[in-house]
Amino acid sequence: MGIPIQPPRFDTDLLKPFYEGLAKGELWLTADAETGAWIWYPPEIVPGRPHATLAWRRASETGVVYTFTRVERSLLPGDHKAEVPFTVVLVEPDDAPGCRVPGLFVAADEASVACGLKVRLHPVQAGDHVVAGFAPA
């Protein structure tokens, strides 16, 4: 499989805890600091509650593939011809249903990907950074 090399841009520090979690093999998502309810992706303002704050909460490292696609022509800015093909999945962690985490699908047989497939977090080294990846559970 190919690996896209496109480091997170980090215009702000907002998503840094997500990557700090991945580096430890953990999946951390955002939630309402007061109620603990998942709010993902983290919005600049919590919908309908502009003064609410977000907190990071560890999610299950196992989940289910919501959908996927195998990218054969990367549309990322710049030249990424050497990095294809790769398969991207949107995964719903078991304890955060409805929250979808984009990641690379890591498997000997990439064609085994399917909606509903059970997967486990499997961070991927992409150049000098780590990105989200999921392998069959």
Binding site: R9, L75, C99, C115, V131
Partner: protein, 381 residues
């Protein structure tokens, strides 16, 4: 808003090409002047503008066309195919019904080949830059391909059924002078099209187009002496979801549940007709899957039956419900929404030559853009 109060009296566009030497302003003005002339009007007769938020302002366009008096101008806040179709028509009708103006110009220019291309605005989203681009989940073809795989999981969708969408629109393009892709395409040719993001091949995607297009909306009674048969706006509907651009491709409960049913219900209610009354439809085809889903949402077939609808040939020339009769955006050219609306007008005027749908009286036009969706019902007067 009442049905039949405004008419589309003029339409115009520049050639659909992959890369134009003309500037965006030149193409937009050329198309606008063509639309004004098609309406039998002079530029000075235009007293209203509805421009797109991503395009030139009415100030710049008015100056370029020598239009000084401009009692009404507005900018559409919706994007993609919604802005220049239902949203622009709604604003134009509101202004005309309120008595602010008589002839509203809706100009539109698009350059797929501009720096950053059609993907640039997605890369500016911080959440995409931090969560999606690092794993290669990027670009419209990839987002919609993921929708197609989920749709297939929920309803079933064969390669032949998905291909039938592209093959249908291509068939219409072969009958359309000026369409960007006119070479015939069968299933073998479809399968030879390069894969971009499974299940999407190049043939499942809208084209890269540089062009301008425009139309004139007139008070219906001011259109009585227009040179062409009047095409009345009978129904307008606008649907939205609560998801902004940053999360709409990943987090909605269903990623392919566009607000097309909502917009269609509004438009049909205003027009006092239903899907069964339509003679043809122009459906926003950014991608094969989005056209297929909107076909269901418009009510041309049942939910989950879009693949079968296209595979059985109902939308083909001679079929019971022709769809995208100029090749749509996937074979005709990609000026979001507006070229579909223009095609609807020409069909209802009876100007489409080989691709003319016999006795076309009622046409639906849909537009999808961001989290919004527009349905418009046009009728021959």
């Amino acid at each position: 808003m009442q049905p039949g109060r405004v008419a589309i009296t003029g339409v115009g566009e520049t050639p659909m090409v992959r890369a134009s030497k003309q500037s965006l302003l030149e193409m937009t003005v050329e198309a606008s002047l063509a639309a004004i002339a098609d309406a039998g009007l002079r530029p000075q007769d235009i007293d209203g503008f509805v421009v797109n938020r991503n395009s030139h302002s009415a100030d710049e366009l008015g100056f370029a066309m020598g239009i000084e008096r401009r009692p009404f101008s507005a900018i559409t806040d919706t994007v993609g195919g919604t802005g220049p179709t239902g949203s622009a028509l709604t604003l134009a009708q509101l202004a005309i019904e309120a008595g602010l103006c008589r002839h509203v110009l809706v100009p539109y220019g698009f350059q797929a080949t501009r720096p950053g291309g059609p993907y640039g605005f997605h890369s500016r989203e911080p959440l995409k830059a931090d969560l999606e681009m690092p794993v290669g989940f990027f670009g419209q073809a990839t987002y919609f391909a993921a929708m197609a795989n989920r749709y297939a999981h929920e309803y079933g969708l064969s390669e032949e059924q998905l291909a039938a969408v592209s093959i249908t629109f291509r068939k219409w393009a072969t009958l359309t002078p000026g369409a960007q892709k006119r070479e015939p395409m069968d299933l073998d040719a479809y399968r030879a099209s390069p894969m971009i993001s499974t299940p999407f091949r190049v043939a499942d995607c809208c084209l890269m187009t540089d062009a301008g297009a425009a139309y004139v909306v007139s008070r219906a009674d001011a259109a009585a002496d227009a040179p062409h048969p009047r095409v009345l706006v009978q129904g307008l509907g606008l649907g939205t979801t609560g998801y902004p651009q940053s999360i709409m491709f990943t987090q909605p409960a269903s990623i392919f549940d566009y607000p097309g049913r909502e917009s269609a219900a509004q438009a049909f209610a205003m027009a006092g007709v239903g899907a069964k009354d339509l003679d043809l439809a122009q459906i926003y085809d950014g991608f094969s899957i989005s056209a297929l889903v909107q076909t269901e949402q418009l009510g041309l077939c049942d939910e989950g039956q879009g693949g079968r609808f296209y595979a059985e040939g109902h939308a083909m020339p001679g079929g019971r419900m022709p769809v995208n009769t100029s090749g749509g955006h996937m074979s005709g050219g990609y000026l979001p929404g507006i070229t579909l609306l223009i095609e609807g007008v020409r069909q209802l005027r009876g100007q489409r030559g080989e691709a003319q749908v016999p006795d076309a009286k009622l046409c639906a036009v849909t537009g999808l853009g961001g989290n919004s969706h527009a349905t418009t019902i046009l009728a021959r007067s």
